[in-house]
Symmetry: C2
């Protein structure tokens, strides 16, 4: 999927929503727990109810790995179900992987070949090696952590370099954008730091940004749209718990749809205000 | 396992070797490929032949995930086999995970509960959140990336902070050691940067260091021992390909033993020179 494809989907769906499938088995509705694969069943129903409102879907691998082999099965099933039934959905593995070259190539194989994800989130601590193996795949994306939405992001991401006065997250943005094109690289930029979005946009005016932290983590969608949007929208704003766990009853998927629709309607306003839809 | 336990095993085995199970299915001997679980069968034979020469064993999760569900089964089987048969082996998941709090807790559950690893490698880019959930488990270890052995480690790890003059990897060492004890935290420090080991030892004199990069990556064991050893040895030096893929024939496990024994004998020399064994 290219940057133009993403923009086309954004215009059609009037949305830049990414739904995070943080499908913790301990939080899914009771009535699903007797099904053969409760996590997959939960994901399937959420996706069936929300695929027309979302541009992207993002399972976080941690919630699957915690269930061992059966969790990995749920993840593979979820990925296959989405790519088979909703090929317009941009499928992101929120895996935050990062390793040296030969090992990194194995992770790329995992998410692009063994499964059919469009994108993987990557941690940049180990530098370019982390990303290069992923960039060898055509039509696949690397989503590099720049500025994360958690409180302890400040421990290291704001360290200011002596020579340049640049902070670590700025160095990551400046250096890594040389490794690939705007059709290969995106960045994670937390919504809880909306004032920092301006600084990020100066460094990467054309890239898509994956923005976590609205909803449960407290970020404002309005601020993100105001400071982060570019001429292709350039945003995928994630909501996980606020949508998928909005109800724990039999109606969970419909309530998830209602919540997703609220967010989508707000997104349509901002897209219209920016003259990206009419 | 405590720091004292590790030291006791080091003295008994006269070794501080960690064997990296980077068990790439495409590189394991042909005659194993018809067995029910070739990767597990490979690991089992390697471990049976080397457990008395090694202090630690370190599967890198990438090589298992690349095989999907069956790979995850091989990883679980390998972990269970080691903990059941060789409880003195310190079992490290080289997973390089790192995420926000609630997600990090899922990864901790994955490696400490769903499986029975003693330790997990963690990437510090997102700060303290990455590690805290892991430290809640008693008798388990977090192995934090400080200075890695790959070339592009220099992209970010050597960034020098303006106020303090400290480099990013030094900041990681200084800050993170406040999060837990020397019985909970270790650091990854690449052998390819043996001169940097001195700087690391000043900052973390008592911690164990997990040192990759000898063998295939070109680091020198002698340099590592000279600059990195402390009064509890304080080193786990990893070798992966140099041992496990030393032969691709029917004799692979015996040849792996020979290679492991060469390393162990060299390690015994350095332990004796440092008066840690007699």
């Amino acid at each position: 999927m290219t940057r133009e494809d993403l923009f086309k989907h954004i215009q059609l769906k009037q949305s830049f929503l990414c739904i995070g499938l943080d499908s913790d088995i301990q939080k899914i509705p009771e009535h699903l727990k007797n099904s053969q694969d409760p996590v997959f069943e939960f994901n399937k129903q959420i996706i069936d109810q929300t695929h027309d409102l979302a541009i992207a879907v993002k399972p976080n691998t941690a919630f699957y790995e915690a269930n061992g082999v059966s969790g990995w099965k749920s993840l593979e099933r979820t990925a296959r179900y989405i790519k088979t039934n909703y090929p317009d959905i941009f499928l992101i593995a929120d895996a935050k992987r990062g390793d040296i070259g030969n090992t990194s190539a194995m992770y790329a194989r995992t998410f692009y070949e063994t499964m059919d994800f469009d994108a993987v989130t990557l941690a940049p601590y180990m530098g370019q090696d982390t990303v290069l193996s992923f960039l060898k795949y055509k039509d696949r994306w690397s989503v590099v952590l720049a500025l994360t939405s958690n409180e302890s992001a400040q421990d290291f991401q704001y360290i200011k370099e002596d020579k340049t006065g640049e902070m670590l997250f700025e160095k990551v943005l400046k250096l890594s954008q040389k490794w690939g094109t705007t059709d290969q690289l995106m960045y994670v930029v937390g919504a809880t730091k909306s004032e920092s979005l301006k600084a990020v946009r100066k460094l990467v005016p054309d890239h898509f940004l994956l923005v976590p932290g609205i909803g449960a983590q407290g970020g404002s969608l309005k601020d993100v749209a105001q400071h982060g949007m570019n001429d292709h929208c350039g945003l995928l704003v994630n909501s996980s718990r606020g949508i998928i766990f909005a109800s724990s009853g039999n109606d969970f998927a419909l309530v998830a749809r209602e919540e997703a629709m609220k967010v989508q309607k707000e997104m349509a306003l901002y897209l219209r205000a920016a003259n990206l839809i009419y």
